[in-house]
Each structure stands twice: as structure tokens, then as C-alpha cells.
Amino acid sequence: MGTLAAFLILSAVTLIPAVVVVTSKNIVRSALALIPTFLGITGLYVLLRAEFVAGIQVLIYAGAITVLILFVIMLTEGGTGIRIRQVNEQVPVGALASAALAALLIWVFLRTPWPKGPGTIPEYTATQIGTTLLSSMVLVFEVTSLVLLVSLIGAIIIARRER
């Protein structure tokens, strides 16, 4: 009962600002509305007992990515203050397409027999995540860090070229 109530409230917290993100005429407000969305998803993670992922979600998404988006908007000339239209005359077609996609997804979710894996959720997930990342997932981990390193160097080179 309590879990269901929490889930419904968190879904509302996630979805209502998400609608604002895609409908607001003010781009800064759109970016700011992302924050409650991310926090709602954090709540869902906590509900799933993934505390470590929840903490990282707040730290990275709500605390850093949004700030980065805001930063880019504010540093772009004419980025703020102009009123933008988020929709055009193709609204009916888009609505049709998204309704079809939603129907397909719901159908898939209802059809899939969700298997319940054996074992219980560990009390403390941070250690498990660390151990998994550096043992069985080490290749994925290293490739990800390589990709990040390359993009970091790329960003530096692009920023330097201006001189």
C-alpha cells in the first residue's frame, strides 16, 4: 500500500515536470523542469533499493548535467529570453506515432513473462557494483573510460583551436 502510494507520487513528480520540459516556451524553464524529473527517478531507484545508483543519479544528472545544460543555454548568444515554439504543424502525426509506440510498448510489457531471478537483493549495493565493475565487467568499464578520455581530449582540442 505504502509502496504503491510512493510509486504513484514519484511517477507524478517525474511525469508532470517532464511534460513541462517538452511544452514550455522558455528554454531555461524547460531545463529547470528536468530537475524534478531526475529527482523523481531518484525516488524510483530508492524504491527499487538501488541506493547507490540513486545517489549517483542526483550527483550526476540533477547536480551536474542540468547545470551543464543551463550553462550552455546561458552562454549561447540569444539563448535565453527568446520564446521558442516546441511544436509545429505536424502535431497530429507526431501524436499518432507516439500513441502507436506507447501501445506497442504497453503490449510488449504486458506480454513479457517477467522472470523472478533467484537470490535476494544485497543490503549494501555499492561494494557489489564496485566488485562487478572491476571483475566480470572490466572490459566494458575500461572501454567506457577510454571513450570518456577521447571525448575529453576532443573537447580540449576544439576549445584550443580558437586561439
Binding site: M1, G2, A5, N26, V28, R29, L32, I35, E51, F52, A54, G55, I56, V58, L59, A62, G63, A64, T66, V67, L68, L70, F71, M74, L75, T80, E123, Y124, A126
Partner: protein, 325 residues
């Protein structure tokens, strides 16, 4: 789990904690700041309201409560009015994981989360949203400049702060704040000895994270009037101040928890030890504030990216080597 009583407990704990902080951290903190500032600059500081000026901040708070709340005509009213709440809430939320001491075997902490220090870092990173939103919504170039400076500064210094936290978590083997205090046994067991570089990195990054001198570029009075809160008045201004001081005291409390052995100490009760250590760190931060000049933006970012961040990475490597082998 009984949801009703859990929610009631959470609300009561939040109200109690926030009231306590508003009085101890914000009001007493401001007075302490002005007294120490006066002492360092060879003057008396507030003296007239109450004995030795003790009630000065109370009078100031009452004055601020009565002030008119002005929203500039060109401001984005909704964002403008919400921003101080974000800063204050984020500043206060960090306190949920701070263990104050023990009382009859039980640890005095609102909630001993198993991701304690991660939660703390996440809450510290939320402050910047309020600052950025407030600075932008004011529709004032000084506010916007202050907000942008604040964003670049806080995003940068979050990284060394995180590095220091990682080093401590590795040493203690847990992310829980209570667990970290428990891992520090005896006087030499405090992590300030075993993790001294992490301590220095944490303290510098924490000072930058709460926008204090020498890292107070976001609100540099002499160039930006007051930075991101130039347009704020009355209670919303004081909410910004409350958030700032709550955050600063939270950083001091976190330093105590992570490096100074938290509530541990001989003879005196744990609670007293905790506050002694916390106020020692607070005094240090105030001492730095009143004796150092302000950095330039490039110096500030160079210090973060070229010194603190590599140092933090190397220290993690060294700690990892020491712990493993």
C-alpha cells in the same frame, strides 16, 4: 514498516533539525563571523544589542522578516521565488547524514544511510541549481555573472571533493558516515593522520564549494555588487544566507566526521567533542576568510584542475596501493 509513523518521524526530525540549524548555524554563525572578523581586523564587531552584541543577529533576522519582498518587474517570478528555497533546502539536507554523537549507545543521526557521504555530495551539488536559477531569474547582469561563475566553480570543485570522499571511503571501507566514524579508533586513528592529503583537498574544495573567501567570486562585492542575490530582499535574501551558512557548517561537520574522528574523544561527552571539533573547523574557515584576498577566476580554476584534481587522483592511487598491499 508503518508508513504513517515513519512520515511523522521524518517530518518531526526535519523540523527539529532545521530549527536547530537556523539558530546554531545561521544566527550564531553570522554573529561568530562578525565577532571573529572584528577581532582579526582590530575592531569590536557587533556590541550594542544584548550583552556583548549577542542578540545582534536576532535583531537582524526580525528586521529581515519585516522587509518587503520585492520581485523585479523583468524577473521570471516563479523561478525567482523558488530559487532561495532550493538553496536553503539543499544546504539543510546534507545534515541528515551527520552523526552528532552517541547518547546511551544510540548514535544521534537523523538517518544512517548506507550511501551517507554520496548523499552528502549529491546534496551539496544541488545548491548550484538554486544559485544558477536565482541569478538567471533576477534578469540582472551582475546576478547572471555571479551565477555563471558559481556554476563553473562549484561544478569544478565537486570533483576534488569527490576524490577526497573516495579516498576516505576506501580507507574506512564504507560510505556510511557512522561507519566512517567507527573506523577511526583512538587519537592517531583519526583519518587526518592517515589521510592528510585528502583532508587538505577536502577542506580547500569545501571552502570553494560554499563560495567563501578566497573563493567568493560568485558574490564578489567589489565587482558584482552581491552576485547572484543582488536582487533579493527580505526573507528570500536571508534564505540564501541560511542556505550558505547551513552548507558551510555542514562542510565543517563533515570534515569533523570524516577526518577528525567525529564524536570521539576522551573525558568530555561525545556531543561536546563533536561541536568542539566542528567549531574548530568553522573557526579555521572564518580565519581564512578574513585574512586571504580573493582569487581571480583563472587562478581558481587552475588550482582546481591542475593541482587539486591530479593530487586527488594520485592520492587515491597511493591509498589504494597502501590498503591493498
Amino acid at each position: 514498516m508503518n508508513w504513517g509513523s515513519e512520515i511523522a518521524k521524518a517530518v518531526l526530525a526535519a523540523v527539529g533539525m532545521f530549527t536547530f540549524l537556523a539558530i546554531v548555524a545561521a544566527m550564531f554563525g553570522v554573529l561568530l563571523e562578525r565577532k571573529i572578523g572584528g577581532w582579526i581586523q582590530s575592531r569590536l564587531g557587533p556590541k550594542h544589542v544584548g550583552p556583548q552584541g549577542l542578540l545582534q543577529t536576532l535583531a537582524d533576522t526580525l528586521k529581515l522578516l519585516q522587509k518587503e519582498h520585492v520581485t523585479p518587474r523583468a524577473a521570471d517570478a516563479l523561478v525567482f521565488n523558488t530559487a532561495p528555497l532550493v538553496v536553503a533546502t539543499a544546504g539543510l539536507m546534507g545534515w541528515l547524514v551527520i552523526p552528532f554523537g552517541t547518547l546511551g549507545g544510540a548514535v544521534l543521526v537523523v538517518r544512517d544511510l548506507n550511501i551517507g557521504i554520496l548523499f552528502f555530495a549529491a546534496m551539496a551539488s544541488m545548491t548550484v541549481i538554486g544559485i544558477l536559477a536565482g541569478g538567471w531569474a533576477s534578469n540582472n547582469k551582475y546576478s547572471l555573472l555571479g551565477a555563471l561563475r558559481s556554476a563553473s566553480q562549484m561544478i569544478s570543485y565537486e570533483l576534488p571533493l569527490g576524490m577526497a570522499l573516495v579516498a576516505v571511503a576506501m580507507e574506512a571501507g564504507t560510505l556510511s558516515t557512522v561507519g566512517i566514524v567507527r573506523a577511526q579508533d583512538g587519537w592517531m586513528g583519526s583519518f587526518i593522520f592517515r589521510q592528510f592529503p585528502a583532508f587538505v583537498i577536502f577542506l580547500v574544495a569545501a571552502t570553494a564549494e560554499v563560495n567563501r573567501v578566497p573563493f567568493d567570486l560568485p558574490e564578489a562585492e567589489s565587482e558584482l555588487v552581491a552576485g547572484y542575490f543582488s536582487e533579493y530582499s527580505g526573507m528570500r535574501f536571508s534564505l540564501f544566507m541560511l542556505g550558505e551558512y547551513a552548507e558551510m557548517f555542514a562542510m565543517a561537520a563533515m570534515t569533523t566526521t570524516l577526518f577528525l574522528g567525529g564524536w570521539k574523544g576522551p573525558l568530555l561527552p561525545p556531543l561536546v567533542w563533536f561541536f568542539l571539533k566542528m567549531y574548530l573547523v568553522v573557526f579555521f574557515m572564518m580565519w581564512v576568510r578574513w585574512t586571504f584576498p580573493r582569487f581571480r577566476l583563472d587562478q581558481l580554476l587552475n588550482l582546481c584542475w591542475k593541482i587539486l584534481l591530479p593530487a586527488g587522483l594520485i592520492w587515491i592511487l597511493v591509498s589504494g596501493y597502501r590498503i591493498t598491499f
